[in-house]
């Protein structure tokens, strides 16, 4: 007879794995990725490829040469995911050497410094974007207009709807012009992504398809995205009622990186809270901060900073918002 394996229960496993989850998220990103290729052409493809390649290479090199790990863990898909998400947060005409810097910062500094997968405090892709936004403000806010021809790498550029909204709020000389330009951008074209912006964030419809796919596959739960979107809608709605020059709440929902952030960034396993209660608190805080930054902050876009700020609060949220223990439920 063979030697028997003796181990503790449970003796069966669900079959879930880290890579299944990572590749599941990547599949959910495919619709938005295809949209970005359609809208922004070759530039988007190049940025994506360079970003993914630099992320994977950087993680592999640090694992192998600095941490001397035998298992270099790049096959789990997490570095690829960071690469795609970083690319999604960049304009498609960004010089490729800047993309490489962003990727190295995201993986090398934000992820691997803390010990690699599962250990980082901040979302690597978002931290990479924030780093680039502060370091290269001009390149990072020059948005190509969509549908300008596939091979047209020097496409005409224009302001994003969020930047126009900001102009309107600020008032002054350019407010009227911004308002009229904004008037041409309707809800539908913002929903389908026919506006300027980061390559992955423009097509909210494609992002929503990814959201439902991830819900269906049980990769994420509804708690974080829905609490963010609902908070933004309510808070922005109140502001709009109080002062009509503030953008309508439905425009807030489909502009900037809100959907991308709520669905793919804030739900990052490693940097979001563990309990459902904690996830709701986290989502509400992100939604609130996003509107605050969009309305009164220096940047037109508040999503990435809101998420990064709340990333820092996650350990605290985990400490204070425990799951409901069995037996604590109120007796009916």
């Amino acid at each position: 007879m063979n030697k028997l394996t003796v181990s503790l229960s449970p003796h069966v496993h669900s079959g879930d794995s880290v890579s299944k989850n990572m590749y599941g998220v990547l599949i959910a990103l495919v619709p938005a990725l295809l949209c970005s290729f359609v809208y922004f052409g070759l530039g988007a493809i190049l940025v994506t490829l360079v970003s993914v390649a630099s992320c994977v290479l950087c993680e592999w090199a640090i694992n192998k040469y600095m941490l001397k790990r035998t298992d270099t863990s790049v096959t789990d898909g997490s570095a690829i995911l960071t690469g795609v998400l970083l690319a999604f947060n960049l304009p498609s005409n960004l010089p490729l050497w800047i993309v490489v810097i962003g990727a190295v910062f995201a993986i090398g500094v934000v992820k691997m410094t803390f010990g690699g997968l599962g250990c980082n405090l901040f979302n690597p892709a978002l931290a990479g974007r924030a780093f680039l936004l502060i370091s290269f403000p001009v390149q990072m806010t020059t948005w190509p207009k969509p549908m300008m021809g596939f091979f047209n790498l020097d496409a005409e550029t224009g302001a994003t709807p969020l930047a126009l909204m900001k102009q309107v709020i600020k008032g002054g000389d350019q407010a009227a012009q911004a308002a009229s330009e904004l008037g041409n951008t309707d809800f539908l074209s913002m929903l389908t992504g026919n506006t300027g912006g980061c390559m992955g964030e423009v097509c909210e419809l494609a992002l929503l398809i990814g959201f439902f796919y991830m819900l269906y596959k049980k990769i994420i739960t509804w708690h974080i995205p829905v609490s963010i979107l609902a908070t933004v809608f309510v808070f922005a709605g109140l502001l709009h009622i109080a002062k009509p020059e503030y953008p309508a709440p439905w425009l807030d929902l489909v502009s900037g990186g809100l959907m991308l952030g709520a669905i793919f960034m804030a739900t990052d396993y490693v940097t979001s809270p563990m309990s459902k209660k904690g996830q709701l608190v986290y989502g509400i805080a992100i939604g609130f901060l996003t509107v605050v930054i969009r309305t009164w902050g220096a940047y037109p876009e508040g999503m990435s900073f809101a998420i990064l700020i709340m990333n820092a609060f996650v350990p605290l949220i985990n400490n204070y918002f425990k799951p409901k223990r069995f037996g604590e439920v109120v007796k009916k």
Partner: protein, 450 residues
């Protein structure tokens, strides 16, 4: 459909033997009876080498109140009083009996006739409990807690209902399912006896919806039986670990037992396994002590997965042989189900009161995957039926931070394995939590001893 409210997982059911009717297993050549087959003090042998015993002869007395006597399941001669490695993996004192013929104690009623409760209406609660105690009955679901102790709740508590656990949420196991299909009347009589023992007017039988035939049959029988006892069949949505005592109470009567040391009776519930109800019937009405039980012998590579009526003390090897022999690719043998069962050291382990199944796993199924870093996906938190944070408890155990482990309610863990089952990183969550739990329990006991 009802189910428990916190956590839970859905392991593949693999009920390979659900269509197989119960067959009696053959007699062993030598039957081995470990003295510690239950929670509490081990039993004390009252036979010695050379003594003659019959089927149903008492061979060991209870070692205390929380303990149970043990009866011979075979007739023959006591070979020796020695030790045996049981399902726990440790050597335990045991009585070996060489089997000769099959002669039963004359006091046991071996007729198949159903004895109805109204024939013994004069039986009082304490008589029933005394008979159960004397028959050596323990929880048949696997925990093996002496049944008479459960039926004697501490003074001041007020049982309001009996809940019969017929959930059988462990994958692969089908012994309770078959028992319900083949002995529904005896089960109802047993439930009525249990109700009488704790003086309640209501009983529920919780059955998961993957056993529609059992739900149908038991409901029909319970309706007819209604004039004798108020027994209601409650179909439950399939979810593991619904057979956990606290989860079952929550599912059936929507009340949650507070954290330990609170007992189920604190919310009025007395929980008994369906197999226990059957054993209670046999003990009280047929004068038959507990010496045989139904065992599911199963596994994907096994040629004939079966449900066998097994005399206790039969070595598992014999049951495996009766089901087509040990497959070539065997990698692990489990006593019980795959979620909470114990991996066995060898196939000589005898069937005991709590052996609900023998599960043969092949090489591939037997190995764990390599461990990856925790990605903080919180799937273990969602899966935990006790509302704990397995990722945190396992890390605290690793760091040997027992104080914080206690604060984070590690002692509430029911060791169901849902966390480890669901972990995408294949982390040994429950291994570590068990370590934390047992250490913290030790610390708490030491504190109370002072």
């Amino acid at each position: 459909m009802k189910t428990f409210r916190i956590g839970g997982v859905h392991p593949a059911e693999n009920k390979l033997s659900s269509g197989e009717s119960i067959k009696p297993a053959g007699l062993p050549k030598v039957a081995v009876f470990p003295m510690g087959q239950h929670i509490g003090a081990p039993a004390t042998p009252i036979v010695k080498k050379g003594d003659k015993v019959k089927v149903g002869t008492k061979i060991a007395d209870a070692g205390g109140f929380v303990s149970a006597p043990i009866y011979s399941s075979v007739s023959g001669t006591v070979l020796k009083v020695d030790t045996v490695i049981d399902a726990s993996g440790y050597a335990k004192p045991a009585v070996y009996i060489t089997v000769e013929g099959d002669e039963w104690e004359s006091s046991i009623d071996r007729s198949p006739d159903l004895v109805h409760i109204d024939k013994v209406y004069e039986l009082e609660a304490k008589d029933i409990i005394e008979k159960i105690k004397e028959a050596g009955i323990v929880g048949m679901g696997g925990a093996c807690f002496p049944t008479h102790v459960k039926l004697s709740p501490p003074p001041g508590s007020h049982p309001t209902c009996v809940i019969i656990n017929a959930v059988e949420c462990e994958p692969y196991l089908t012994s309770d399912h078959r028992l319900m299909l083949e002995h529904p009347d005896e089960i109802l009589e047993g439930v009525a006896l249990l109700m009488k023992a704790v003086n309640v007017n209501q009983a529920y039988i919780g059955i998961e919806s993957n056993k529609p035939d059992a739900i149908q049959l038991m409901s029909d029988k319970a309706k007819v039986y209604h004039k004798f006892a108020n027994i209601e069949v409650v179909p439950l949505k399939v979810k593991y670990p619904q057979g956990g005592e606290k989860q079952l109470i929550d599912a059936v009567i929507r009340r949650q037992v507070p954290a330990p040391p609170a007992l189920p009776v604190s919310v009025g519930a007395i929980i008994q396994n369906v197999g226990t109800a059957y054993a209670v019937y046999e003990a009280v009405m047929k004068n038959k002590p507990l010496f045989e039980r139904i065992v599911t012998v199963t596994g994907k590579s096994l040629s004939h997965p079966s449900n066998l009526l097994v005399r206790m003390g039969t070595p598992m090897q014999q049951l495996i042989d009766e089901c087509g022999g040990l497959p070539e690719d065997t990698g692990k043998i489990i006593g019980g189900g795959p979620m909470m069962g114990k991996a066995l050291l060898n196939t000589d382990v005898p069937i005991c009161k709590g052996s609900s199944g023998v599960l043969i796993m092949n090489d591939k199924e037997s190995k764990r995957s390599s461990v990856q870093p925790c990605i903080r996906c919180a799937k273990c938190v969602s899966a935990c039926p006790m509302g704990l944070e397995p990722f945190l408890l396992s890390k605290l155990a690793e760091a040997e931070n027992w104080e914080r482990s206690e604060q984070e309610d590690v002692t509430s863990c029911i060791e169901c394995g849902s966390c480890q089952f669901t972990c995408p990183s294949h982390r040994p969550l429950l291994d570590l939590i068990r370590q934390g739990k047992s250490t913290v329990m030790g610390i708490i006991r030491a504190r109370h001893a002072k």
